[in-house]
Amino acid sequence: MSALAEAAPPTAEIPAAVDLREEFESSGVKDVLAELDRDLIGLAPVKKRIRETAALLLVERARKRMGLAHETPTLHMSFTGNPGTGKTTVAMRMADLLHRLGYIRKGHLVSVTRDDLVGQYIGHTAPKTKEILKKAMGGVLFIDEAYYLYRPENERDYGQEAIEILLQVMENQRDDLVVILAGYAQRMDRFFESNPGFRSRIAHHIDFPDYTDDELFRIAETMLGQQNYHLDNPAAEAMTAYIAKRRGQPHFANARSIRNALDRARLRQANRLFETATGPLDAEALSTISAEDIKASRVFSMPGNKASGLGKGDQ
């Protein structure tokens, strides 16, 4: 009996019970999740996964405090989904979440692509990759379009070197940084097939679904609202039609396409006001996007097929 008591490490008193609800609120996780719900439209499966991850981490933290767990759980993740589905935005929230839970010390996000990691000549890659890894320590390293790191067609490609360093740090310094890989689903699958080391080191795979037309419309409204613009009724109808048409056309990038469309609509609105205004304009006129600003888009004059769409885009 006494031997057992002696063997126990002289830690601070171990709590007998943990109130998860209380932890959830005091750690700030609740705020992050609420913000996520409020700010991000759609993405229901993603939010569910994040909620689950947060729950796991909270429980893990409580277990650690009671002396039941010692190892840091693997937190490396992969985000797969089409362009413009909010992978980077969610990664940023993830960094915040992990920071509040105390799994990373700083909570910053370093977003990189192949160019930042892979060098151009022999001996250039390792220092470059290490430099980025050092910058990301204490935070989250977000590798966008991670599959470009691996180029099977060129066996002397330096990407492999970057991958090896990454894997080593991901394994040995799990306490120091969290790596999130992002990219299109199919190509990421192929990437993981050819790099089994990555697959086994990544515990959380989160898939980002495309937005529905209705969600895209709400996103458009939110984006405009943030810039103090709004759509009038005919413009709202035009926007709905625009979204439906745009989806069928090439290079559709979900929310990013919408953002670009809105930027162009603002341009046209400014132009229209400039050319048609005869007297002074009030705030209402300056912040209203009307149907003609959207209807002027190329999307409406373009057939939904790929070949001609590309030709026009080049002009």
Partner: protein, 140 residues
């Protein structure tokens, strides 16, 4: 003889965790930390060899510890110090330096006296280690 240069050198050697906290303190102050090593411990030898670049934009001390581990692998038999450089205008100088690695055996210094004209004596200290060529001074 134990070399005492920089901060904390009269204390027992810092553990890696203690080094991490010191380095984090430097980073939080906005100083750029870097590593330097040498096998010439003479106090007037201020220019040590650099290990990598100064880390101007790493927010976490883990990066320095990573480099320290690497540096110890290569130069574990020499002196290694952490240098924290303050780049703010008007300072532009080292704010803190501390030894984070030292050879297993430190032979110390020889004091030599040179008698000059009259009864004048010049004193010079020479590290015993410097008797051997650079690179082979501390048997590991």
């Amino acid at each position: 003889m134990r070399i005492t240069q920089g901060a904390f050198s009269f204390l027992p050697d810092l553990t890696d965790d203690q080094i991490r906290s010191q380095v984090q303190y430097c980073i939080d102050n906005g100083w750029a930390v870097s590593l330097e090593f040498t096998d010439d411990p003479h106090p007037r030898n201020t220019y040590w060899d650099m290990w990598g670049h100064p880390m101007f934009d790493n927010p976490d001390a883990a990066a320095l510890l990573l480099e320290l581990r690497e540096c110890r692998k290569v130069y574990g038999d020499r002196y290694i110090r952490v240098v924290a450089f303050d780049a703010t205008h008007g300072w532009e100088s080292v704010k803190l330096s501390l030894i984070v690695n030292r050879p297993a055996e430190e032979p110390g210094f020889r004091l030599s006296r040179q008698e000059g004209a009259g009864r004048l004596v010049h004193y010079t200290t020479t590290p015993y280690a410097a008797d051997r060529p650079a690179g082979n001074r501390y048997a590991s």
